[in-house]
Symmetry: C2
Amino acid sequence: MSVTPTRDRQAERREATRREIVDAAWDIARRDGLAAVTLREVAARIGMRSPSLYTHFESKNAIYDAMFGQAWSEYLQVCEDIEPSIPKQVRKALLVMVSTFVEFALADQARFQLMNQRMVVDFEPTPQSYAPSLQVMALFRKRLALIGVAADADADLCVAIVGGLIDAQLANDPGGQRWIRQLPRAMDMFADEVRLPGPRLRSKR
Amino acid sequence: MSVTPTRDRQAERREATRREIVDAAWDIARRDGLAAVTLREVAARIGMRSPSLYTHFESKNAIYDAMFGQAWSEYLQVCEDIEPSIPKQVRKALLVMVSTFVEFALADQARFQLMNQRMVVDFEPTPQSYAPSLQVMALFRKRLALIGVAADADADLCVAIVGGLIDAQLANDPGGQRWIRQLPRAMDMFADEVRLPGPRLRSKR
DNA sequence: GTCTATACACCGATAGAC
DNA sequence: GTCTATCGGTGTATAGAC
């Protein structure tokens, strides 16, 4: 009579190998950029030949897909670990939310390019990998509503402003502060637009 | 005694061929995206073999470089053809400036990706091709100053907002209006921040 | 000078042996 | 599951024909 084992050692091993592959790809991406990731180097780093990767991922884009899902899941975790701030200082709460994202984005440029820019040309995330990014957006909207910003259009505008600042920063002054230092000012501007109460984060000149 | 011809027919022919190459590359980029441009297809379209392109451009990126410079030169021409609006309605003038850019950007997505996103990975524009984009930015700052927005930081913020809206539009709702329809509102928000006078372009709710 | 033919090194992906 | 061998594709280099 066959007995069902409590642990599927084979599945665990497979998952460990998939993780090794993804980690190696991140190493290369952080070192030389997302586009520098090649199957041959990924394989070499974990002691394999490139065709063997196809046992674990059906294509190179499937590896990017796993990286995409992992990055957004990590950021979702970061958001959930932060207690939603009290509505006492709503502008401070807004700044904390967007600063968290900015910090996460600037900390790893390759990761940000994969998450938010369409840096890998023929890559479209699968619904499964896209899910955590939708969860992040839903959580952001929920917390915006908590401090009094309920309209979808308002959240859209906020996301566009923050994204625009990050893009400009990375494109024109990578490693610098020229655009990002305007984040508190930009959030004051946005808060004024949506009539958030409270003192400004920065004075107007 | 040798006579210097008034026209250099050979140089004219060379320039015409370069133009043919660039035009063919634009056709492919508009059809299938920037990344779909291959030297073999560019060459085939103008009745050449791919190595022959190296007579006219030193690399594929040199073709992208020519396209980059051409796109920004065209936009510079568009800007110069528009009379700087009277400072009577400064908010209207601001909206006209940014709308011109948005319209140009959304009209040709491949062109916008080349001009403003870092879509081609290993491509850095040469100083010569970068020049017209600097001219555009200088003209934009000058006209902003004419309507009362003099600080560099203000222009940076404006550029980031508009860029963020365009990026979000193209990434999340290509062909739609969800983000771009907020442009007048965003410019009112910006105008309020920099204390531009005049009635709002859109009412606040 | 202009173009072709050929070749190289690299890429992602596939087939099939073990 | 991993290997070797190979395929069709890429950008690019170069020798040589005209």
